[in-house]
C-alpha cells in the first residue's frame, strides 16, 4: 500500500474530533493533494480507532460469533449486515462493552494514552469511555432515552454527567442539538413519550452526539420506522457523521441503509464474516454465495 506524507498537523487540526461541525480546513488542492480534516480517512500515519482480532462469543454451547476481525479508522463507518441470528448484534454488544468476548481482543485508541485492550479496562474505565468518547444509538429509543424527563434534560444529562453546571449553557446546547436533529425547540420541555417514533429516534441521536463522541455504535437505527421517517433519519445521520468526522459501527439488516451510511461493509452469516470490503463493491459485485443471495433478495438497493 502506498504511504502518504500526511503530516500530523493536517490530521489534528484545531477542530479534529472536537465534535463541532465546520472542521473543514479550506484550501482545495495543495500540490496535488487535498488538505482537510477528512484526511484522517486516507491511508497515512494515523492509527486505527479500534482494532478487533479474532473476536468470538458464545451463548452457552451456541456460538454467536467467531473469528471476527476488522480495523476502523477515525471518520469511517463500518456497516455490519446479515440476517437475524447472524451474530451482528452480539458483535456490537461485545464492542460496546455490554458483553465480554470469550475469545480475541478489541484494541481501542483511548485518549490520551493510546490503544488499550478493552478487556483489561475496569468497569469504571469502560463506563467513563461510554460517557466521554462513545455513543450508542439503540434500535428502540426507549432504551436510550429517559422517557420521564423532558427532551432538553435528556440531551443535557450527558453534559451534566461530564460536569457541566451552567443551566443556561446546557439549555443552549440542548436547543442547538434539537435544531440539529430537526426537532422544534418549542418541544424542548416536553416529555419524549409525547414524541413520534421518528422524533424519539432523532432525540436519541441528539443525546448521543451532544458530547461530541469519537465512536458511535448504531443498532438498527432506522428499524421500525416508516419509510419516509427513515429517509429523514438517514439523511440526518449521514450529514452528522460527515460533519463530525465520526467513526461508527452500524448494525443493520437493511442493505439500503448500509449503502447510505457505511463506507465499508462486513457481511455476517452464522456468526462469521463471509465477505467484507467497500460498501458499493460488496453490494454491486458480491462474491460470496450468501452475499449474492442477500443482494439479489433485496428490492432495489
Amino acid at each position: 500500500m502506498t504511504q502518504f506524507a500526511a503530516s500530523a498537523a493536517d490530521r489534528d487540526g484545531p477542530f479534529a474530533g472536537s465534535g463541532f461541525p465546520g472542521g473543514y480546513v479550506p484550501g482545495g488542492y495543495v500540490s496535488g493533494r487535498h488538505v482537510s480534516d477528512r484526511e484522517s480517512l486516507d491511508a497515512g500515519g494515523d492509527r486505527p480507532l479500534i482494532e478487533v482480532e479474532n473476536l468470538g462469543y458464545a451463548y452457552g454451547s451456541r456460538v454467536a460469533c467467531r473469528d471476527i476481525g476488522f480495523t476502523l479508522y477515525p471518520g469511517e463507518v463500518l456497516g455490519v449486515v446479515g440476517e437475524s441470528g447472524s451474530g451482528k448484534t452480539t458483535l456490537l454488544s461485545c464492542l460496546a462493552g455490554r458483553l465480554s468476548p470469550a475469545a480475541g481482543r478489541i484494541l481501542y485508541d483511548r485518549r490520551p494514552d493510546g490503544p488499550v485492550d478493552l478487556a483489561t479496562l475496569s468497569e469504571a474505565e469502560r463506563r467513563l469511555l461510554i460517557r466521554t468518547e462513545w455513543g450508542i444509538v439503540h434500535q428502540n429509543p426507549r432504551d436510550g432515552l429517559r422517557m420521564g424527563v423532558s427532551a432538553g434534560a435528556n440531551i443535557g444529562e450527558r453534559l451534566m454527567a461530564l460536569g457541566h453546571r451552567h443551566f443556561g449553557q446546557i439549555r443552549e446546547a440542548a436547543a442547538h442539538w434539537l435544531a440539529e436533529v430537526e426537532i422544534d425547540t418549542d418541544r424542548m420541555d416536553d416529555l419524549p413519550r409525547s414524541f413520534s417514533g421518528g422524533m424519539q429516534q432523532r432525540l436519541q441521536i441528539a443525546r448521543t452526539l451532544v458530547i461530541g463522541p469519537r465512536l458511535v455504535f448504531m443498532d438498527e437505527p432506522t428499524g421500525g420506522l416508516d419509510v419516509s421517517v427513515q429517509a429523514r433519519l438517514l439523511d440526518l445521520l449521514r450529514r452528522l457523521v460527515a460533519e463530525m468526522n465520526l467513526s461508527g459501527v452500524l448494525v443493520t439488516h437493511e442493505l439500503a441503509v448500509a449503502r447510505l451510511l457505511a463506507h465499508r461493509l462486513m457481511v455476517m452469516k452464522g456468526g462469521r464474516v463471509v465477505e467484507s470490503g467497500l460498501t458499493d463493491q460488496v453490494l454491486d459485485d458480491p462474491h460470496h454465495p450468501y452475499t449474492q443471495l442477500l443482494v439479489s433478495s433485496m428490492l432495489q438497493v
Binding site: A124, R127, V149, A153, E157, M160, A161, R165, H166, F167
Partner: protein
C-alpha cells in the same frame, strides 16, 4: 433496671447493637456512603422512625440526655412516643432543650440552636437513595455512586428550573458529602442544608425500611447541588415568628380558625420557647 420491664438496655440485644455500631463506624469512615445493615423489627411501623431508633439504640448510653423532635417539635406524637420508649427501655434522661441534649433524634428538621462537639444528631430517613427517582435499579445506583456518575442528579434540578423557573425542590434537597458521595439529607427543609456543612456534631442517618445507615462526621463538607447560574438558596419568609418574633428561623404556617386566620410560628418549639423566655415579646404577646 426495673423500668426496662424485662427488655435489654435500649431494647435491642447486644449483638444487634454491635452489628449496627459496625455499620455506623463504616458509615463514618466513608462519609455519605449508604451502609446496608440487618435492620430489626421494631415495635412500631416502618415510616415511624424504625431506622433512627435502631441507630439511637446502638449509640445511646446511660449517661446520655436524649431529645426527640418531629418536624421541630418535641411534643408531637412521634417525638413523645420515641422519647418515652428510650426513657423506659434505657432509663436515660430526656430533655426538650437542644443545648442540654447529648443525643438528638430527629424527623425532618435540624434544630435552630447550633449543635456542638459531643452531640450526635440521628436522622430518621424514609428513602435513603437520592438517585432512586431517576434510576429504579439498586445495582445501577450503587454503580453510579461508586463511579460518581451523578449526571442524573442534576437532571432533577434542571427539570425544576424548566417547570418552575427555579430549583423548586425544597425538602430532601440532595447534597454532596466530602466532595464525593451524593446523599439524601432526609426530608429536612433545604433551609437546614447549610447547617449540615462542617457541623461540629456527628450526624447519623438511619433508614429502617431500606435498612441503610449513613453518616456525616463532624466538620465534614456538605454542599447542596446547584447550577452556576441558579445557585442554591434557602427558603425566606416575609413574616417573623408570631410567637417569638424570630426572623431567622424556619417557620410553619398555622391555621388558627376556620375563617382563614393563620400565623407563622417557629417550627423549632424549643428555639421559640427559648427566645420567648429570654427575649423581647413576640407579636402575639405584644398584641394582648
Amino acid at each position: 433496671m426495673t423500668e426496662a420491664g424485662g427488655y435489654n438496655f435500649a431494647y435491642l440485644d447486644e449483638q444487634t447493637k454491635r452489628m449496627i455500631r459496625r455499620a455506623i463506624l463504616k458509615a463514618v469512615a466513608v462519609p455519605g456512603y449508604q451502609v446496608p445493615f440487618a435492620g430489626r423489627e421494631m415495635p412500631l411501623p416502618y415510616g415511624w422512625g424504625t431506622g433512627g431508633i435502631q441507630v439511637t439504640a446502638a449509640v445511646i448510653s446511660g449517661q446520655d440526655v436524649l431529645k426527640v423532635i418531629d418536624q421541630g417539635a418535641d411534643d408531637t406524637t412521634n417525638a413523645v412516643s420515641i422519647r418515652r420508649f428510650f426513657a423506659r427501655t434505657a432509663g436515660v434522661a430526656t430533655t426538650t432543650r437542644t443545648a442540654e441534649a447529648t443525643l438528638i433524634q430527629t424527623r425532618h428538621r435540624i434544630p435552630e440552636h447550633p449543635l456542638g462537639e459531643g452531640q450526635i444528631l440521628v436522622y430518621q430517613v424514609p428513602i435513603p437513595e437520592p438517585l432512586r427517582w431517576m434510576e429504579p435499579r439498586e445495582t445501577e445506583t450503587r454503580k453510579m455512586h461508586a463511579l460518581s456518575e451523578y449526571g442524573a442528579m442534576h437532571v432533577k434540578l434542571y427539570e425544576d428550573i424548566v417547570h418552575f423557573g427555579r430549583i423548586a425542590t425544597s425538602y430532601d434537597y440532595p447534597v454532596r458529602v466530602n466532595g464525593h458521595y451524593i446523599m439524601s439529607p432526609s426530608p429536612i427543609p433545604k433551609f437546614d442544608n447549610p447547617k449540615m456543612d462542617r457541623m461540629p456534631a456527628l450526624q447519623l442517618f438511619g433508614a429502617g425500611r431500606e435498612k441503610r445507615i449513613y453518616a456525616v462526621p463532624p466538620y465534614t463538607r456538605v454542599e447542596s447541588l446547584d447550577f452556576e447560574d441558579h445557585p442554591f438558596e434557602v427558603q425566606r419568609w416575609d413574616e417573623a415568628c408570631a410567637l417569638c418574633g424570630a426572623t431567622d428561623s424556619f417557620l410553619d404556617e398555622v391555621v388558627t380558625d376556620d375563617r382563614g386566620g393563620r400565623m407563622f410560628v417557629c417550627s423549632d418549639t424549643d428555639h421559640c420557647q427559648d427566645r420567648r423566655a429570654g427575649a423581647p415579646a413576640g407579636k402575639e404577646e405584644a398584641a394582648q
